[in-house]
């Protein structure tokens, strides 16, 4: 009986503390100013429809005036890296905050960084296709980078779905690519642990797209959160009560929260094709994917490839990325395997040190 009383008393005390912490957390949240996202300065160098192509300013020139678009710097020996992010979620995850920015780390290591920002598609983009994204938008961006840097080829860095697009681009336009880095990129869309892939099997994607047009970002948010519903709708916010005591930690949480739920709508046709051809039919791995009338043959990829993937990734299981080794034609293939989750790949402590060191070291050896 006395033990029960002790336990009951303990729980009561804990509940009171919980209530107090909740109150303090709510006060802290109410007093929070707008959080800054993507702090590293960049310049818009090209735009087409909703797409924007940015070039990041070198860190030492962060306060310098905009570089001329027509400036041809023949002496510029920095490796030019064009980052192709996914259509899902926003690319500022790579530049979330000053101490969590893969882009900043690349700039510190003297890389010339370009980024494709796909923007926020609306009804006018409803009929954009897989072909449009790879053979039109990406091609135009690559051409712009080559023109600005007076080079023939770029180093392509594809993240997640952006990596899939980059693989397709490299297979179809190898003449434009010097090297390819894929980060947490799905290649085999039907591995056993791929929950999203299994969930898509019973989905009538034609009905979805024909009814909704563009697929709302909120729908995808629901699917992602639904992968771990108790952690992501409940425990995460209970953890917030601990973070709320530290203003910097609270801001970090809010930044991440903004990124997680800042999901653009997906252009209808692109979504239909991606889900049907990749998730349902696994065409990329099977070698039967065709874009613009041409087969995407991963065997044609002969450029150096660095494949970065994460062992705890629940969105893109490691097996989904690792199979790339057996599919591409290059003899210069390396892997960088991280013991992190999908997002941890770009925001964990290692992503600010070990990973950029390895990435840039690899790039420099192959920069022509």
């Amino acid at each position: 009986m006395s033990t029960d009383n002790t336990v009951a008393e303990k729980l009561r005390k804990e509940l009171n503390e919980f209530r107090e912490r909740t109150g303090r957390a709510l006060d802290a949240l109410a007093g929070l100013r707008d959080v800054e996202i993507g702090p590293t300065p960049k310049d818009l160098i090209y735009s087409e429809d909703k797409l924007k192509l940015y070039r990041y300013r070198p860190l030492q020139d962060a306060a310098a005036p905009k570089q001329s678009k027509n400036k041809k710097n023949k002496a510029d020996a920095r490796p030019a890296v064009l980052i192709c992010y996914a259509l899902i979620n926003r690319p500022y995850m790579l530049d979330l905050q000053e101490d969590r920015s893969v882009i900043r780390q690349l700039l510190k290591r003297d890389v010339d960084v370009f980024l494709i920002d796909w923007g926020y598609p609306d009804g006018a983009d409803r009929y954009l296709t897989f072909d449009d994204y790879v053979n039109r938008y990406m091609l135009h961006c690559v051409e712009q980078v080559c023109r600005i840097r007076d080079i023939d080829k770029v180093n392509l860095l594809g993240v997640c779905q952006g990596g899939t697009l980059s693989l397709c681009f490299t297979a179809l336009h190898p003449e434009y690519v010097n090297s390819l880095i894929t980060m947490v990129t799905p290649v085999d869309f039907q591995t056993d642990k791929d929950t999203l892939s299994k969930w898509s099997r019973a989905l009538d994607v034609d009905a979805l797209v024909d009814t909704l047009g563009n697929v709302p970002g909120e729908l995808l948010n629901g699917a992602f959160v639904g992968l771990m519903p108790f952690r992501l709708t409940s425990q995460k916010y209970v953890d917030l009560l601990d973070a709320a005591a530290n203003p910097a930690q609270l801001e970090n949480f809010i930044r991440m929260e903004k990124w997680i739920f800042d999901s653009p709508d997906q252009p209808g046709e692109m979504f239909r094709q991606f889900v049907q051809w990749c998730y349902k039919e696994n065409r990329l791995k099977a070698g039967t994917l065709e874009l613009g009338g041409k087969r995407v043959d991963l065997e044609r990829i002969k450029v150096p490839v660095l494949n970065v993937y994460a062992l705890q990734d629940h969105l893109v299981p490691p097996e989904a990325s690792a199979c790339l080794a057996q599919l591409i034609g290059t003899k210069d293939y390396e892997e960088l395997v991280l013991n992190s989750g999908h997002i941890g790949t770009y925001v964990s402590a290692k992503s600010q040190t070990e990973m950029p060191d390895r990435l840039v070291g690899w790039l420099r050896k192959r920069n022509r």
């Binding site: 804990e14 969930w199 009905a207 009814t211 047009g213 108790f230």
Partner: protein
């Protein structure tokens, strides 16, 4: 005059009170009893109307009474919908019963749209009920697993010492149960069914909305989609033509440079 007006006012109130009593009877009656109630309602309706009238009026009222009785009996669900206050869950089913009649007349197309909408809503609700069932089972399994874990932790001397630890353990158990469920083919099919039935419902909603917009000469989504499709095709044609023209121009520059 005042007297006759008073009489007529009384009559109206009496008539309304009879209608209210009959509506109450209807609500409390079973299926068999309702046939009797409809007869009484029809009687009360036309008797009230003809009580002060001529013999001809009374005869006409009797004919209308028979017709009304048939109408009320044959469309019993209409009475049910009018007299009962349906719960939110019952509305689609009740509405569906109303729309079971064959669509006729000038509102035929609207009737079909609404009928399909109501049917889709009912189907979607049925799927959601199955989903709710699955999650209720999941909760129960998670609590079972939590109990087992808590007991085995206690047995090894590592009992959860505070509420937060118990909460974290509950989340861990719930996620474990869910992780297994999320790969179960039946659950995957159910998720697909819920999304697919929701899309069918949305499609019906859009059809109703489109029809309304057309009546006000406002652009519909279908029209805007047509425009965007056309624009997309034109953009591609322009791109192809520009590329071909640029190629021709490069070739002719090269060949004229070669000549010189």
């Amino acid at each position: 005059m005042n007297e006759s007006r008073k009489q007529s006012d009384n009559w109206l109130e009496d008539w309304l009170s009879v209608q209210r009593k009959l509506a109450e009877e209807w609500r409390n009656a079973n299926e068999e009893q309702r046939a009797d109630v409809t007869r009484k309602m029809a009687e009360a309706l036309w008797q009230g109307v003809s009580s002060n009238g001529s013999e001809q009026a009374k005869a006409a009222a009797r004919q209308l009474q028979d017709a009304t009785q048939a109408l009320l009996a044959g469309t019993g669900y209409f009475m049910q919908a009018l007299t009962d206050v349906p719960t939110l869950m019952e509305i689609p089913h009740r509405a569906q019963q109303m729309f079971k009649a064959v669509p006729l007349g000038i509102l035929r197309e609207h009737h079909i749209l609404l009928r399909d909408l109501v049917q889709a809503a009912e189907e979607h609700q049925a799927v959601l009920a199955r989903v709710a069932n699955v999650f209720a089972n999941l909760e129960a399994q998670a609590i079972d697993l939590l109990t087992q874990r808590a007991q085995s932790l206690r047995a090894t001397g590592n009992a959860a010492s505070h509420g937060r630890a118990l909460y974290d353990l509950w989340v861990e158990c719930a996620e474990e149960v869910f992780a297994k469920l999320s790969h179960d083919p039946a659950f995957i099919q159910l998720l697909g069914d819920s999304m697919n039935s929701f899309m069918r419902l949305r499609k019906r909603q859009s059809a109703v909305l489109d029809r309304l917009l057309r009546q006000f000469d406002l652009p519909t989504r279908a029209e805007i989609n047509s425009m965007h499709r056309k624009l997309n095709e034109l953009a591609k044609q322009v791109e192809t033509l520009s590329a071909a023209s640029a190629k021709r121009s490069t070739r002719s520059k090269k060949s004229s440079a070669g000549r010189h």
